[in-house]
């Protein structure tokens, strides 16, 4: 990949990240009740680490399915739904990754490994937003709890 293509790719990923910030906020806001008891930020950090270190998408989905399964077995259906909804989003982002590859690196858009790398970067961006928003909501919950 040449320098110009690399820059264009970075720009497109950054634009995608900015465009999906509101979606991440909405995802956290609609499930903020989970942050008090059923979902910990450390799980999101663990997911971020898995995405960073994995080479294959199934490694990421296995982690998510594992978290959803644990929640189901504990009778926490809303938490299980959280993970299942997140997996659905990640599956959808594969199309975005393909489109970004088509626009920025058209000669390599059919290169599966390149598209997988872009897909992982999109997931990483989204999880970063989730972590930031979740930390903020958890802080607000703690402040409200102290005030009571």
């Amino acid at each position: 990949m040449n320098f110009k293509s690399q820059n264009t790719l970075l720009s497109k990923i950054a634009a995608w990240s900015d465009a999906h910030l509101a979606e991440a906020r909405g995802f956290v806001l609609s499930r903020q009740g989970l942050l008090q008891y059923d979902l910990s930020i450390s799980q999101l950090y663990a997911l971020a680490n898995i995405i960073r270190s994995s080479q294959e998408y199934p490694q990421i989905t296995d982690f998510i399915k594992n978290q959803a399964g644990k929640a189901e077995r504990a009778g926490k259906s809303k938490t299980a739904s959280y993970w299942q909804d997140l997996k659905t989003k990640f599956d959808d982002y594969a199309k975005d990754a393909q489109e970004i590859a088509r626009i920025t690196i058209p000669r390599q858009a059919s290169d599966v490994e390149q598209v997988k790398t872009i897909h992982r970067q999109l997931q990483q961006c989204f999880v970063q937003h989730l972590i930031a928003e979740s930390l903020l909501y958890q802080r607000r919950i703690n402040e409200q709890t102290k005030g009571q």
Partner: protein, 159 residues
Amino acid sequence: MKSHELELKRRQFLAERGDFYAIPDANDKRRGAAHEFAKEFARSREDKGLTHSGVDKANIRGLESLAWSTESIADILDYIRMRVGRDIRNQGWGKRGIGIRLADKLESLRADAEKFYSDKEPKDDAVRRLHLELCREFIKHLTALYEFYKKPEVLEDEF
């Protein structure tokens, strides 16, 4: 408008906005937001005493470094919001809501970018890119003014 004319206007707009963010005006409270944030960050540090800082130079420099190295505005906002979220004791970014107000302010700069392009035809993600540069401009002035205001003799004069 020709592209070089647009680029010139864009740079002039960035410079004008930079002045707007950095230089206060007693007759216009909207001016000097970066100036006010810098004073408040410097003051939060001073409140803790010299032995333990609130938002200290490393934090501000880290924000500046990120602003200039990232292509994503969301990265800058996430950086601040994570630090607010982690500040459980309200001694740093969470103190008096300063971090979240800064994040909100940077996010609101998009309105300035949209205003610039309101009578022009922006290409691709020109509005987003201008928003990013406005954030960089704001943070640049915030950092410089913070360095000035964190000097004890300056704080004594101010407060």
